[in-house]
């Protein structure tokens, strides 16, 4: 539900509630006014009749004077003075049905000590009709007025919220990794101006932090390379030294392995930050089938040594537009992943068509949700020697080209499916512009 619909609905709701209550009150006020008038008339007539009774002890011929029903009943005994007015219905001969009337009944005793009851009935049809007409006209007026107001309100709101919607659109398109400014349009409305100003400041700050962080990561990784190179080369020299005993070799070996691990880690992080920085901007149409075949050849001995069976169905080559190096890293990481986490005498099944490929391999059950493995340093097996960046790198590449990747595990069968034909396909032909 958008803002405008919401405000219109609220508007309609409160208008209807206000009208229902207002209408009821109005109806009763009108009715009271009319009834008071009728009652006055009835009382006046009663006084006239009583006056005549007291004065001449006769009854006037009411039919000529008043157009409604008057009945006077005379008794020999006196009656206590008593008077009331009520709504009731009487039979109308001319219309042959009961009609609603306002009736005044008055009991009293005349000067001659005779009791009498005067009953004056005034038909309400006309009054009811009048009230209905007034209320009907009012309803009509209300609805047209409300309709008009909602209509006007809709358009006013719409034009008022234009800058807000523009800001929203700009925010949606904002990408922190791209150096495009937020470009918020100027507006005369103070609140929106304040909002834009605040957002602009936040975006700039965020972008600055992002760039700083990125630079820090990159610099740190770069600067670590040199000391690492020194550590590794000095250790290598140390190893060559004669007369080392087994303990010393063990110590050196531990340091050496840690340094090697750190260097692999660092290279992985550098690669990720390079992908982030779009340093692999040159793209071409890459034949993933050829790369896959080369990769399998590259790992052939390891596959043979682990006695893994490879079954592949290359129906058609998948040929995305992407950077060749990244394509090689992508395939190599996925294949080596399926080898590393495989079991002895396991199986790797690779199918490819023009939409992408799927690698299915036997392996061990995993302890974390499969898609978590795409995050940095997430490993199913904490003790494993791998640095845990392989799939994070894959995920970065997949993100860059807006491919789709899915990791599924079913009873020790792991499967990774890459789809290169996604909605973003048209977009990445233009990645060169981003450099």
């Amino acid at each position: 539900m958008n803002l405008l619909t919401r405000s219109s609905i609220n508007y309609i709701f409160f208008s209807v509630v206000a009208f229902v209550f207002g209408g009821i009150i109005f109806y009763h006020v009108i009715k009271t006014i009319f009834y008071r008038q009728i009652d006055e008339t009835l009382k006046t007539e009663k006084q006239l009749i009583e006056g005549q009774i007291d004065y001449s002890d006769t009854l006037p011929d009411f039919r000529q004077v008043f157009s409604h029903m008057i009945e006077v009943t005379v008794f020999n005994s006196p009656k206590k003075k008593f008077e009331f007015i009520k709504d009731t219905a009487l039979y109308d001969k001319s219309m042959d049905k009961l009609v609603p009337v306002r009736q005044l009944i008055c009991e009293n005793t005349s000067i001659q000590d005779q009791g009498y009851i005067i009953s004056i009935s005034k038909p309400l049809a006309e009054t009811t009709h009048l009230i209905r007409t007034i209320v009907g006209a009012l309803i009509l007026l209300f609805f047209s007025l409300t309709g008009l107001l909602i209509f006007v309100n809709y358009f006013i709101s719409k034009s008022i919220w234009v800058p807000f919607n523009k800001t929203l659109e700009n925010l949606r398109n904002f990408d922190i990794s791209k150096d495009a400014p937020l470009a918020l349009t100027a507006t005369r409305i103070h609140e929106f101006r304040l909002l834009n100003k605040t957002l602009d400041r936040m975006a700039k700050q965020m972008r600055r932090d992002y760039v700083n962080l990125k630079e820090f990561n990159e610099n740190a990784s770069h600067e670590i390379q040199t000391p690492l190179a020194i550590i590794k080369s000095k250790l290598e020299l140390l190893i060559q030294g004669e007369g080392l005993d087994e303990d010393q070799i063990g110590l050196i070996n531990s340091v050496y392995e840690a340094a090697a691990r750190m260097s692999r880690l660092n290279q992985g992080l550098l690669l990720i930050s390079k992908i982030d920085n779009n340093q692999f901007h040159q793209t071409e149409v890459v034949d993933l089938q050829k790369i896959m075949e080369r990769t399998l050849e590259h790992f052939e001995e390891i596959i043979n040594l682990k006695k893994i069976r490879i079954i592949h169905h290359f129906n058609a080559p998948a040929c995305p537009q992407m950077n060749r190096t990244l394509a090689e890293i992508l395939v190599s990481n996925l294949v080596s992943n399926s080898i590393r986490h495989n079991i002895e005498e396991g199986e790797i099944r690779i199918t490819m068509d023009s939409n992408g490929f799927e690698i299915t391999n036997t392996g061990h059950p995993i302890t974390i949700p499969p898609n978590d493995l795409f995050r940095r340093f997430r490993k199913s097996d904490r003790t494993s020697d791998s640095v845990g960046l392989g799939l994070a790198i894959v995920s970065k590449i997949v993100q860059l080209y807006q491919f789709d990747i899915k990791y599924e595990v079913k009873e020790n069968i792991h499967s990774i499916k890459l789809n290169i034909l996604t909605m973003g396909k048209q977009d990445f032909s233009g990645t060169d512009e981003l450099t």
Binding site: A229, I230, I231, E236, I302, I329
Partner: protein
């Protein structure tokens, strides 16, 4: 063999120098762009190792200048930036190889050996060590003039050993040499063991010596003495 090492990091420079000196190279060092330019203009080297990010200049310019004067000098770029653009440009202007820091000294040594071999003998050289004769271009290996058939990885392994004779080669450096840097597999060390076992067996079958010595926990050594 004269080698010039252009590297601004003193400690790294001395480590490389020390490794290469033991390989009987005459290894000179230059710590700055300026001194490197001076040296290449004064002397002739068989191979130059260039760090392309120097504090006072770009190593790529050294390569350009070098190529104008001495076309025969082999060039290895070493860089902390694993940048494809740099690599392509470097190889384009005449460098023979590109290594990313941190690298194994044994790997650098193997690359230098390979470059010098290619340059000096025009690609028709043979490597002879006692009963072993290798024709690198054809990937042929003979023991006592009898050919042994090696897989590509076994051949690479043998060449790596021969480039670093009497040196301890760590499992890591062998794994990286055979499978590349992206090979992040702990169990690849088992595969090295298997490869070495097969290589040793093939060489022994034809009456070769048992050159390969295991250094416990560390790696292997190709012992010729």
């Amino acid at each position: 063999m004269k080698i010039l090492l252009i590297e601004d990091e003193k400690e790294l420079s001395s480590a490389i120098q020390s490794y290469l000196t033991k390989e009987n190279y005459l290894c000179e060092t230059a710590l700055t762009y300026q001194s490197a330019i001076e040296k290449i203009n004064l002397y002739q080297y068989d191979c130059v190792i260039v760090d392309i990010t120097l504090p006072d200049g770009n190593g790529l310019n050294i390569i350009r200048e070098l190529k104008e004067e001495h076309i025969d000098t082999g060039i290895v770029i070493i860089s902390a930036k694993n940048s494809l653009d740099d690599k392509i440009e470097g190889l384009d202007i005449g460098a023979d190889d590109y290594l990313t820091k941190p690298f194994h000294l044994s790997e650098l040594n193997a690359r230098i050996k390979s470059i010098i071999r290619r340059r000096n003998f025009g690609g028709t050289n043979e490597i002879i060590l006692n009963e072993i004769r290798i024709v690198p271009e054809q990937m042929q290996v003979f023991i006592n003039e009898e050919e042994i058939v090696l897989t590509k990885k076994e051949f690479d392994l043998l060449m790596f050993f021969l480039s670093n004779k009497n040196r301890v080669l760590t499992k890591e450096s062998i794994a990286e040499h055979l499978w590349g840097e992206e090979m992040d597999m702990a169990d690849s060390y088992d595969f090295i063991y298997t490869h070495i076992k097969n290589l040793r067996k093939k060489m022994l079958e034809k009456g070769g010596h048992d050159y390969i010595q295991t250094i416990y926990g560390m790696g292997y050594k190709f012992l010729t003495s």
